[in-house]
């Protein structure tokens, strides 16, 4: 993990993902505000069980209404993701505004990489189990 300035020609991830997250937020608000149709979950229709991402829209809707407990219960992993996005946006806005060095993970060891990898898989599986158990 290093803090360094961008090299000439290097992709500015902070600018890209800050833009993407803000546009996505605006799009999500627009979609929910105008009550545009949300595609049905094919997995739920076929099996009767929630898929690993069932509840992400309801979670966002609850979060917009500041009903935090309902949002967490609907999809904990999505809620965590929605919580991390503003933190990343704040970091990106600060480093862009003040032209600060950027956080980069240049060389992640195989061991650390595997820990992150398996943790992510376990988190997705645990979240899915929660959704099935809660009948989200």
């Amino acid at each position: 993990m290093t803090w360094r300035r961008l090299r000439p020609g290097e992709i500015d991830h902070e600018a890209i993902w800050l833009g993407v997250s803000l546009c996505s937020l605006a799009g999500a608000w627009f979609w929910l505000y105008f009550a545009l149709p949300i595609p049905a979950c094919s997995f739920h229709q076929w099996t009767g069980l929630p898929c690993p991402t069932c509840g992400v829209t309801r979670c966002l809707r609850y979060a917009f209404h500041r009903d935090w407990w309902a949002a967490v219960g609907t999809n904990p992993l999505a809620f965590l993701g929605y919580g991390l996005i503003p933190l990343y946006d704040l970091y990106a806005a600060v480093v862009l505004l003040f032209r600060l060095p950027r956080l980069r993970f240049e060389s992640v060891s195989t061991r650390v990489g595997n820990i992150i990898r398996y943790t992510a898989i376990a988190a997705i599986a645990a979240n899915w189990a929660w959704l099935v158990w809660m009948r989200v």
Partner: protein
């Protein structure tokens, strides 16, 4: 002669000339990697510090190694599949053959697809050649695709084809009076007031922005999936370039006037385009990331397995109708 090279902020080395060649062949060092050796004033990109192209002084009779891009005396060259490789590339060649079944190609030989050379070819021939290459010869096209060079060029290709294809779908929806009933029934009075025509105009204008936004989200998910599958050997830039070239070309397939033959045929055609797009994506990811095809298939399908919403996004890419004909659902 010993070299040092930059990996992030870390200085690596010293390494010998042959070790540097091996790192180039393995893809650890590329033409833009900053390198330094004694006598140099500053750290300089490899392509300037040690030029090996036509501008460099190359002894007569030396042969260019396909994997490293450098010139070697004939006795240090072996021919594999008709292409010259140096001894320094042995590790990369073996790894490439074992993992992907193909021989490695140097970054300097990666100069495709045709859209990357549109200044020379002209925009329309370049678009046509790129569509043809990606959809009909994906293996050769992605084996020679530039993995670096920014996001703008492939994004432009994707937006042009995606927008044209989207407008064609929109026109079909409008003239066949399908897909917009949801707005007439929408409880929101603003939408009802806007009317279908206004909405179509607004949507047509905003479509490029949605395409760009969608391309970053989808390519980001694909890259995360590659990281989970231990297949992200190249940076996000490479994944994004692969994604946009495949999706742009697959969108072009929808320009064929199949919807005019009927709704069922149109749905079937959209399904075929989606499946073929997935096949090209798997081949593209395997060739650009230099991973096994099986790992590439797993990485491409993982978002579809984990997130069935991605199936809907795929449907949105291949057919506008899929997104709007759906009923308010479970998500």
């Amino acid at each position: 002669m010993t070299w040092y090279y930059a990996q992030g902020d870390q200085r690596q080395g010293p390494i010998s000339e042959s070790e540097l060649d091996a790192l180039i062949a393995a893809g650890t060092v590329n033409e833009n990697t900053l390198v330094w050796k004694e006598g140099m004033a500053n750290w300089t990109p490899l392509k300037e510090a040690r030029p090996s192209g036509p501008g460099a002084e190359v002894p007569a009779g030396w042969i260019k190694c396909t994997a490293t891009g450098r010139y070697f005396p004939p006795e240090e060259i072996v021919y594999l599949d008709g292409k010259p490789y140096s001894a320094a590339a042995k590790g990369a060649v073996l790894q490439g053959v074992l993992q992907t079944g193909t021989l490695p190609v140097s970054e300097t030989e990666r100069n495709g697809p045709a859209w990357e050379n549109r200044q020379q070819l002209g925009p329309f021939p370049a678009i046509w050649e790129t569509i043809r290459g990606v959809l009909l010869e994906p293996n050769a096209t992605f084996t020679s695709m530039r993995r670096h060079g920014g996001l703008g060029t492939p994004m432009l290709y994707y937006v042009i084809l995606g927008w044209i294809s989207g407008l064609a779908q929109l026109a079909y929806q409008f003239f066949s009076h399908t897909g917009f009933a949801v707005f007439a029934k929408n409880p929101n009075p603003v939408l009802q007031m806007m009317g279908t025509t206004t909405f179509i105009v607004v949507w047509a204008v905003l479509m490029p922005a949605f395409l760009i936004l969608g391309s970053f989200i989808s390519a980001g998910i694909l890259h995360l999936s590659l990281m989970i599958c231990q297949g992200a050997k190249q940076p996000f830039e490479t994944t994004y370039r692969t994604y946009t070239y495949v999706r742009g070309s697959a969108a072009a397939l929808l320009l064929l006037p199949v919807p005019l033959l009927g709704q069922n045929l149109a749905t079937g055609w959209a399904f075929i385009c989606g499946i073929w797009g997935l096949v090209c994506m798997c081949i593209g990811v395997a060739r650009t990331q230099e991973i096994t095809t099986g790992r590439a298939v797993l990485a491409v399908l993982l978002p579809l397995i984990v997130c069935c919403v991605a199936l809907v996004f795929l449907g949105m890419t291949v057919g506008f109708a899929a997104a709007f004909a759906g009923q308010a659902g479970h998500h």
